[in-house]
Every structure is written in C-alpha cells, then in structure tokens.
Symmetry: C2
Subunit: 234 residues, 2 copies
Amino acid sequence: MKNVVLASTSTLHGETYLSYLLPVMKELFAGITEVIFVPYARPGGISHDEYTEKAATVFAAAGYKLRGLHTFEEPAAAIRDAQAFFTGGGNTFLLVKQLHELGLMELLGAAVEQGTPYLGTSAGSNIGGVNMQTTNDMPIVYPPSFQTMGLIPFNLNPHYLDPIPGLPHMGESRETRIREFQVQQDLPVVGLREGSWIRIKDKRVTLEGALSAKIFEKDKEAYEVEVGAELTFG
Amino acid sequence: MKNVVLASTSTLHGETYLSYLLPVMKELFAGITEVIFVPYARPGGISHDEYTEKAATVFAAAGYKLRGLHTFEEPAAAIRDAQAFFTGGGNTFLLVKQLHELGLMELLGAAVEQGTPYLGTSAGSNIGGVNMQTTNDMPIVYPPSFQTMGLIPFNLNPHYLDPIPGLPHMGESRETRIREFQVQQDLPVVGLREGSWIRIKDKRVTLEGALSAKIFEKDKEAYEVEVGAELTFG
C-alpha cells in the first residue's frame, strides 16, 4: 500500500524545522524505528553530513533514528532494505542529478510504490511528480534527465505563491510559468501552498494541511481545491 | 568590435513593450536597416509568428525592419548575413534548447563576437552569459546543454529582485539561489534589476540604465555597482 506525504515546505514562517509536520510524521511512520534521509538537495550548499545532522536532531526528538543515504557504501541496498524515507528540500536539480547518476531514482520510486513510507518536503516533494519540470529552483547543475518518481499522475509546484498585488515586477508570474510548461506538456500541475501537503494512501490521493491548492489543467481555467478533497485528475 | 546590450527586461512597469530601450536601440543599431529577431523563448507560449509580429511593430515605428529567424529556410546563413540581432524574452530553457538543436548557439555567438550588434532582453540576455544556470525560468523543456554564448565572462540574473520585507515565504531567496549556484561553479553573477542593462563595446563592459546592480562573487559578500561602472571581474 503506497503511503506518502509530499509537503510544500519543511518549515512554516516563524516555526522551527519540520515542527508543523510532526503529527503527520507520527501517522506516516507509525511502527517505524529508522528513516533513511536523502540529503542530496543540499539547501544553501551545506554538506550531506550537516544536512543529515539538522534533520536527525528533529527526528531523534520525535523518536526516530535518521541515517543519511550518502553514508551507505551500497545506497541501492539501503533503499531496498529501508523502513521509511525522508527527502529534504534544497535544489531540485542537484537532487535529481545525484539520484539519476547513482542509479537510485527508479529504485527509490519502486520501494515507495511497494509500500515503504515516504515523506518529501519541497524538492523532495517535486520528485514525487511525473517530472521536475515545474520546480521553482535554479538549474545550478545539469541532470541527465528531468524524470522523477511519478508517484502521482501530475506535477507539483511547491511553495506556490499567488501574485503579489502592487508588486511592479515584470518577470513571469508563477501561473504564467506553469502555463508555459503546459504548452509543452499536457500534464496537470498542483500549486501547493506552504502549510499544505499531498497525502497518498494506496490509490487515494488527497490534499491535506492548512490551505486550498490551485489546480492547473491544460486549456482550463485554474481552480481551487479544498483541504480534504480527493485529487482525481491526471 | 563587439557591440551588445543585455537588458534585464523588455518592459518597465506601466510602460509599453521596449519603450524605455528605444534610445539604446538607436545607438546600438545606428546605420542598420534590418534586424533578425530570435523568437524561440516564446513568452506565454505564443507562436514564433505572433511574437515576431509584436516586436516588429515596435521596431517598424523606430525605423527598422524586423525578420523572424524562424522564417528563414537556412537560419545559419541568416545569422552569418545579419546586420543585427534582437533576442526577446520568455523561457530560457526553450530558447537554449532550440538554438542548440538547430546548431545556432555557436554561430550566433561567433557573429556577435565579430561585431554584429546584439540586443537581448531577459532570456535573450541570459544567453549572453557563460551559461543559463542563473535563469529564473522553469525547466519546461530539456535542452541538450546549458552552455550559452559567453559574450561576458560572468552570468546574469535578469529581473533581479531584492528580498521583499515582511513576505512570509519560505522558498529560497534570489540570493540564496545564486549562492547555491556558486557552490557548484565559481562564476560571478550580476543581479540585473529591471530598468538596467549591460553594455558591451569591444572589451569594455559597463552597467547602464536606471538602477545599481548587485554583484555576487564566490566567497565574497555581495556588493552594489553603480550605473556607469565598468564590470571588470570574471
């Protein structure tokens, strides 16, 4: 049974790292003692060790041991043997490049499809979509492919931001960017606001958390779905 | 003699397309009758024809004929024979993919290095840098390479935005993204605010326009350069 949480962000404004997700983790990781951490997105360029330590502190307080995937001599075996996964945010290009180059993207996806619980935040949620092509991140490295795990039949846009009224900025809005993507690929995109997450339990995919999400389907006006709603498109 | 303008944006808030750049164009395109337009960035997914028509209207009023590069049976020959170039904004991934796949990126760079005047805005300016890896755009297509023309020995970040005070958004700031890039590549980045442009005359590279630019060099605190200053790093 697929058992997945894909969250827009790790941290809410004014809160500490992962604190708003602790109740979600308790449910997702029920009965689990050790979680494998995928640190490759390296926010701010911190090292894999530093990033793992940051996450491990929070996980330890919640009662889980966290081990960085980068510490295993055979990461493929670590993925196959894992009780659960957490992939943190940072740069999606870095994360995807590393997973592909190590041959781990498909293995990770297969393990999650087979029921190993998975928590993603930000970049770690992006890779739950069909591809990473609706990320907000900068292309700081060149991945061999933009394909990701495809745990859901659509893409995510984490940290979704509504246009800011009165901001005299002529760069493209988030909606414009997503629409440009859909000229290229007919794939629905969920604009996931900070404080919300996608919950996958087997075949049931729902929106959870604090805020409604904005749904973009090609050639349709964007619309909101409310918290608790099932996401059935794609 | 290299003769180039790389502008942050095509359009200032409340103004019409290219209007603030008309005096710059008059100087850059002095003595020129026809400009070749590179429409591949396709803002909002509009067609190459639509985009060319939009730009041609403004150029016609200023006294220049504009022809879309996509209308030539042999675009390589069109680039070699061109009097001048204008590359418009839109999606940098699309622009770079098309130029590489048609084998035109190096030809375009070579023509500009040899003195054919070049105007770029936004995505069209990004490709003047060493690579496109400090674009703000979404990776809506997968280009065969991120390399660009390298008219300057640094990268640009067009539409540079300072952090917005009080915005409770936990996505990465522009500076954080640029710093993450510099963990990967030791390349200076110019945060080019809307209303400003880079002017290249032979070996002299200056900042022009309305606003100072923010300069990011690896392992140095970011600093401002004023309009008129020569950009000598990189």
